[in-house]
């Protein structure tokens, strides 16, 4: 089943290398390959999940897309136009159409500014609205995320964690963006609050046909939110496919290991789950060398089905599935 929706953003062979300095003269002796050849396609109105553990390069990828991090090499296309270069981005208002939601609402909202100014800031940067229209827009945005106009003149500390994250969402959608990069948007939140924020993200997606790049380590949340999922490990994508491909037919040992590690709220099959996890872990340790090259980097992706790619040795595809 190919995705018929138009591609909004395409990233090709993105690399971000950070130099390691060392030796007596502090010269570059090596590179940390934070992102090492990532390619992905995000479709209009879709939620693309990028999963990985800390240090996998998932956040760095997101930062490159919103322009908070320079890439070492690679290309980016927004609605078919090359936006690798900063100047090209300016011309087509890229920075306005791509926004970001951060992990920690506490850190991403300026504590000294009122909610009105926080949400109006992107509007002021990109749109010249009259005072009245601007205020109407802000009230409207607050309404979308379920906050009343009485919030306008309050400060971030007067809100709960969930409300602050909703303010972050309101700010991100202020300029009618087409794509929002959400970097761990709910990992700092409690379960009940997380549900609120996820519901709002879904709601505005339907309303405004927004695409999300949803970066997370929480596979439960990703499963709930995303149609397309990529698993990142050591700077590369090791497996990519539809929700069904990844959760029901995982091929890469890392994906299997990750899936087996998620705690499940299923007390009755606890022992079976634990047994499975131990087996998968053992299989991972035993077969690691076949799935990673001599430098420890994951193998190149190979096409397994129309929607499913995995960084597995040829033999694994023929043998399994």
């Amino acid at each position: 089943m190919a995705n018929e929706k138009p591609v909004i953003l395409e990233v090709k062979n993105l690399k971000v290398h950070f130099p390691i300095r060392g030796g007596f003269w502090n010269r570059v002796v090596d590179n940390v390959k934070a992102v090492d050849g990532v390619s992905l396609k995000i479709h209009r109105g879709d939620t693309y999940g990028l999963i990985g553990e800390s240090g996998s390069g998932k956040s760095t990828t997101g930062k490159v897309i919103v322009g908070l991090q320079e890439s070492t090499s690679g290309k980016m296309f927004y609605q078919g136009l090359d936006v690798t270069d900063k100047k090209a981005r300016k011309k087509i208002n890229y920075n306005r159409e791509i926004q970001m939601i951060f992990q920690d609402p506490e850190l991403s909202l300026n504590p000294e500014k009122r909610i009105y100014d926080i949400i109006a800031e992107p509007l002021r940067n990109f749109e010249k609205l009259s005072k009245e229209k601007e205020k109407m827009r802000v009230i409207n945005l607050l309404d979308i995320v379920g906050l009343g106009p009485d919030s306008l003149y309050k400060y971030p500390h007067q809100f709960s964690g969930g409300q602050r994250q909703r303010i972050g969402v309101a700010r991100a959608v202020a300029t009618n963006p087409k794509l929002i990069v959400a970097d761990e948007p709910v990992s700092a939140l409690d379960l009940s609050v997380q549900a609120q924020v996820l519901n709002f993200m879904k709601k505005i997606q339907k309303e405004f046909n927004i695409s999300y790049l949803f970066i997370s380590h929480d596979l439960g949340v990703v499963q709930h939110m995303c149609n397309h999922i990529a698993i990142m490990n050591r700077g590369r994508i090791v497996e990519v496919g539809t929700k069904d491909d990844i959760y029901n037919h995982p091929l890469h040992i890392y994906t299997k290991r990750l899936l087996a590690s998620i705690p499940e709220a299923d007390v009755n099959n606890r022992e079976a789950h634990r047994q499975n996890r131990i087996e998968v872990e053992k299989f991972f340790e035993d077969n690691k060398k076949d799935y990673y090259d001599e430098n420890g980097a994951p193998l190149p992706l190979i096409q397994v089905s129309e929607t499913h790619l995995a960084a597995v040795p040829e033999s694994a595809v023929r043998g399994d599935d």
């Binding site: 439960g220 998620i262 709220a265």
Partner: protein, 339 residues
């Protein structure tokens, strides 16, 4: 099976108050809880529900300047509450070990790993330096550190998060305590590491025949590891039972709401259940009535108790307040009254 397990810690009517401004506000209220040998008891709840305060109260880690405690926590015949520091230190580290959430900040940045693990032994054993070193190395080995002699001389910042948490666990189990209190031991870790650490805790519990109090916000972690579960809301235990009881037949509206709010396996992306309103702050917490009532406004007042108490619904399964009896979510037919 429960009868076979001997009781280790018996908490009765425990209250902790924090000083904010000039007044004291209650952070945990009337907590009654038993911890047995050979079990993992999970205390689960969202931030601010008092689960960490409960642990710190029992361990005597609260600053007496801005807190007040009443009630008892009987550990094998000694009440730990209001014990003098010197007396308390005969238990801490020796009989009760504690594991903290953030393994980086839980380690002194200026001291070598070996020295920090050995510290527990210095205070509770008569070992000489050489024996101590051997024991530390064997402890590091026990918690799954493959090159303990090397790690012995490292500083905390040189280790990964998972390794640091193993070191913190090694410190807690150094004297083979009867009780281990683990406060969010895996929250700062990746899921693959989390699974390893939880397995390790389970192994230690079986090997040392100790009791573990596992404090967490993660229902998945609870379902995977706990024998019994205490659910906390606003400083109170609202439901208590075996893991099977609590997960298979949850009774309290809060427990049921939490399980509903959780993105489930095989989710089709439908809206998640949202608990209305929010937890009131410590200062604004009412001092009587069902504290969860405002979050389920469709439940009639007469369904709630004036002063909600724990009711035993089946053997070992307790629920606070009578409102659970007829409780239904709105989409199950629960109706909104009043407003």
């Amino acid at each position: 099976m429960d009868a076979l397990r001997s009781s280790l810690l018996k908490i009765e009517n425990l209250n902790t108050y924090f000083k904010i401004g000039a007044n004291f506000y209650s952070a945990i209220r009337n907590v009654d809880l038993n911890v047995n040998r050979d079990e993992i008891l999970a205390v689960v709840g969202e931030s601010g529900c008092g689960k960490s305060t409960l642990a710190q109260t029992v361990m005597g880690l609260l600053n007496p300047k801005d807190s007040k405690v009443s009630g008892t926590a009987d550990f094998e015949g000694t009440d730990l509450i209001n014990l003098k520091e010197a007396e308390l230190n005969k238990f801490r580290g020796l009989k009760i070990g504690m594991i903290f959430q953030d393994p980086l900040s839980a380690l002194d940045p200026l001291k070598r790993i070996g020295e920090q693990v050995a510290e527990t032994l210095v205070y509770h054993t008569n070992d000489n330096a050489e024996t101590r070193k051997k024991r530390v190395i064997s402890l590091l080995d026990q918690v799954g550190i493959h090159n303990p002699e090397l790690i012995f001389h490292e500083f905390p910042h040189q280790l990964s998060g998972g390794m640091r948490q193993r070191v913190v666990i090694a410190m807690a189990i150094a004297c083979e305590p009867d009780l281990i209190i683990a406060d969010e031991p895996t929250t700062a870790l990746d899921v693959t590491i989390q699974a390893q650490i939880l397995d390790l805790l389970k192994d230690i519990q079986v090997r040392n025949h100790c009791g573990i109090v596992l404090i967490t916000h993660d229902l998945g972690v609870v379902a995977e590891t706990a024998d019994r579960v205490a659910v906390m809301y606003a400083g109170q235990i609202v439901e208590l039972g075996t893991a099977k009881q609590v997960f298979n037949t949850p009774k309290h509206p809060y427990t049921r709401s939490l399980l509903r709010a959780m993105p489930q396996k095989g989710s089709n992306g439908d809206d998640l259940y949202v608990i209305q309103g929010s937890v009131p702050s410590l200062v604004k917490m009412p001092d009587h009535g069902d504290l969860f009532a405002p979050r389920i406004p469709w439940v009639k007042d007469e369904e709630h108790e004036e002063n909600p108490s724990m009711h035993e619904v089946e053997d070992g399964h307790f629920v606070r307040c009578t409102c659970y009896q007829n409780f239904q979510f709105p989409d199950e037919g629960g109706q909104t009254y009043g407003e």
